[in-house]
């Protein structure tokens, strides 16, 4: 019973987390207090500001202390405890921000160029999520059509299509995307990269979906309604339209499994500098700063995109995780065979 309750709450927690991530990403321009590409003067490597309620003497509306640059070379900042900057809510189209003359609100600190890391993270996550979503959609459509056609036609078409599927299935995704990317000009605009990468990700990710759909549809083809349709003269395409809905459940789970894979793919390709161009923020381009070992100790907040990626994949895992049934002759609770 305990395990059962935990299972239910685990799934709910995962769904809730995913909903929060999706919401924040959708509302990026409202959630981010600053523009993601503005370089604030004297803010390079500024640490995250703490939102406080108490200054020791008493409680106040949520506020932050202004940051004072103590040493430009050592990039040392100090919180000015004597002054309070009260957060402004829902002003200027932002959920929370600071007044125009109070400098930027840096919830996650600033990157090496003095840009608001939180704003970049939120906007970058939006771009990465959108790309992953588009890639998943493409992969599932390709997979459903190819797998569905193979499963409902059978015979030589089926084995031929499955041979092609297996060929693509064993190609390591990152290598495949890298070589495909190599066939294009090195410098592309953000929009071009977005759609081209969505196509590459679809090409890299469809075989898994196609295999699953093929298996389901091929089983379904043996059922009576499918035989009736065939007897009535339905060709493979028409038959596929009747059989594909059987794979709906599988495809739903496949969405959840592919999203993390494609987020990681974007992160890898953009980290390598073959994805989104400078200065576009995405989870991958932000990893370029995060991966600098020399910065890890003095500016650990630069690892925020890695933490975000981890949190998203974790949320998906919480949803799709299945506890192995613990009812067998080894666990005591008997199940009669």
């Amino acid at each position: 019973v305990i395990a059962h309750t935990w299972d239910r709450w685990r799934t709910r927690l995962g769904v809730a987390l995913l909903a929060v991530f999706a919401g924040v990403a959708l509302l990026a321009p409202v959630v981010a207090p600053n523009d993601p590409n503005t370089q604030f003067q004297d803010k390079a490597y500024a640490p995250p500001m703490r939102v406080r309620l108490s200054d020791g003497a008493g409680f106040h509306a949520p506020f932050v202390n202004p940051q004072v640059l103590e040493d430009r070379l050592a990039r040392r900042y100090r919180d000015d405890e004597t002054a309070r900057l009260t957060l402004k809510w829902f002003s200027g189209g932002k959920i929370a921000s600071l007044g125009a003359d109070q400098g930027p609100l840096l919830l996650l600190g600033a990157d090496p160029l003095g840009r608001d890391l939180f704003a970049r993270l939120v906007h970058g996550a939006r771009l990465s999520f959108a790309l992953a979503a588009l890639g998943v959609m493409g992969a599932l459509i390709l997979g459903a059509v190819i797998g569905g056609f193979a499963g409902s036609s059978g015979g030589a078409a089926e084995s031929g299509l499955m041979l092609i599927t297996d060929f693509f299935l064993v190609l390591p995704g990152a290598y495949l995307v890298l070589v495909l990317r190599g066939a294009l000009p090195l410098v592309l605009s953000t929009t071009q990269v977005f759609f081209l990468m969505a196509i590459f990700f679809s090409i890299a990710a469809w075989p898994h979906a196609a295999r699953g759909v093929r298996a389901i549809v091929a089983t379904e083809r043996q059922r009576e309604y499918a035989m009736a349709a065939r007897a009535a003269g339905a060709g493979p395409l028409r038959l596929m339209r009747h059989l594909l809905p059987a794979a709906r459940g599988f495809l739903t789970v496949e969405v959840l499994l592919l999203i993390p894979a494609l987020l990681v793919a974007e992160a890898t390709v953009s980290y390598l500098g073959l994805g989104f161009p400078v200065p576009t923020a995405s989870l991958g381009t932000m990893l370029q700063d995060a991966a600098k070992v020399s910065l890890m100790r003095e500016a650990p907040w630069l690892l925020a995109p890695a933490a975000t990626l981890f949190a998203v994949v974790l949320a998906v895992q919480l949803v799709v995780w299945t506890s192995a049934p613990a009812t067998d002759l080894f666990v005591g609770r008997r199940r009669t065979p």
């Binding site: 060929f167 299935l169 064993v170 190609l171 390591p172 995704g173 990152a174 290598y175 890298l178 070589v179 495909l180 990317r181 190599g182 066939a183 294009l184 000009p185 090195l186 993390p260 990681v264 793919a265 992160a267 890898t268 980290y271 390598l272 500098g273 073959l274 990893l287 995060a290 991966a291 070992v293 890890m296 100790r297 650990p300 690892l303 890695a306 990626l309 981890f310 994949v313 974790l314 998906v316 895992q317 919480l318 995780w321 299945t322 506890s323 192995a324 049934p325 613990a326 009812t327 067998d328 002759l329 080894f330 666990v331 199940r335 065979p337």
Partner: protein, 304 residues
């Protein structure tokens, strides 16, 4: 070796060779038709157009695509993979060095992942308290692909000094690659095990008086390997894709980084050489997994 197993292996070897041939020529064609080539930079800097034309002729880039591909394939027969323009060295030498580095990293990671993941899978399937203790770790690790794992490990290394981050140290790259795969193997083996444990033949073996440990670690664990070997292709893919990220982040001189250099530098022969060796690795790993599956399960030999 009986006849059906031999025939199965024969078919698989033929398929693997075809796979390698297709992948490497596809990579060659893709990089060749890409806009810009190794001489594009030459145009802008020294020499100008005349030098670029001369270099194109030397590299064979002015020849028709199919002739060019044909001469590359004939070169293969004598292990001549052409000359790298980025490194100015024969591709065969480069690929040999780098492939060794990736193979060492990937096989060590795979061994480590199997040594951790498979026995843990047996334990989590048979002991609820182990399952409860391992589940959160396993969830977290599955959610930690190599590109993230390597950052976490680097952070640990930098802040505690427990791991060496010196160039060439195996600790960070191997662990980053192995841990997510270990969690994946644990999950899969655990599920297969718990299915095995409730199957009638295990109950029958228990009734015959086979000791509990032997039932668990020999009878069930061996049969539960079948579904694990079934996703060998995915594991190999994860190893390679992961090792690309790990190699870039830890400056590991492997095949992934070489391919990156080739693609970024429009180095035609180098890219094709990397694809060739990468495809050979993938094909070989899948071949071994297929043969292992066919040895464990005779039914596999008849299909495909």
């Amino acid at each position: 070796v009986n006849a059906s197993l031999a025939a199965f292996i024969g078919r698989r070897v033929a398929a693997a060779l075809l796979f390698v041939a297709l992948v490497s020529s596809a990579a060659f064609v893709l990089v060749r038709i890409a806009p810009g080539d190794a001489t594009t930079d030459l145009h802008l800097t020294r020499g100008g157009a005349a030098a670029a034309e001369e270099a194109r002729a030397r590299l064979g880039l002015d020849r028709p695509l199919l002739t060019h591909l044909g001469s590359w394939v004939t070169g293969l027969l004598t292990f001549d993979l052409g000359q790298s323009t980025v490194y100015g060295r024969p591709v065969a030498d480069l690929v040999k060095e780098r492939a060794g580095a990736t193979a060492a990293l990937a096989s060590l990671a795979l061994l480590l992942a199997a040594a951790i993941g498979l026995p843990l899978g047996v334990l989590t399937a048979s002991r609820p308290w182990v399952a409860a203790a391992v589940a959160p770790i396993s969830i977290a690790l599955v959610a930690c692909p190599p590109i993230i794992a390597v950052l976490v490990l680097l952070l640990v290394a930098v802040s505690t000094g427990w791991l060496s981050i010196a160039q060439g140290s195996y600790a960070v790259p191997t662990l980053a690659l192995a841990l997510p795969i270990a969690a994946m193997l644990e999950r899969l083996h655990s599920q297969a095990m718990s299915e095995m444990l409730s199957s009638p033949d295990l109950l029958a073996a228990a009734a015959r008086g086979v000791p509990r440990g032997r039932l668990l670690w020999v009878h069930a664990a061996r049969q539960a390997l079948r579904p694990v070997l079934g996703i060998a292709g995915a594991v190999v893919g994860a190893l390679f894709s992961g090792s690309l990220a790990v190699e870039m982040m830890t400056s590991w001189p492997g095949l992934g980084r070489l391919l990156f250099d080739a693609v970024a530098g429009r180095d035609l022969f180098l890219a094709a050489g990397c694809a060739l060796v990468g495809a050979m690795f993938v094909a070989l790993a899948n071949l071994l997994a297929d043969v292992a599956r066919a040895v464990i399960d005779p039914r596999v030999r008849e299909s495909a």
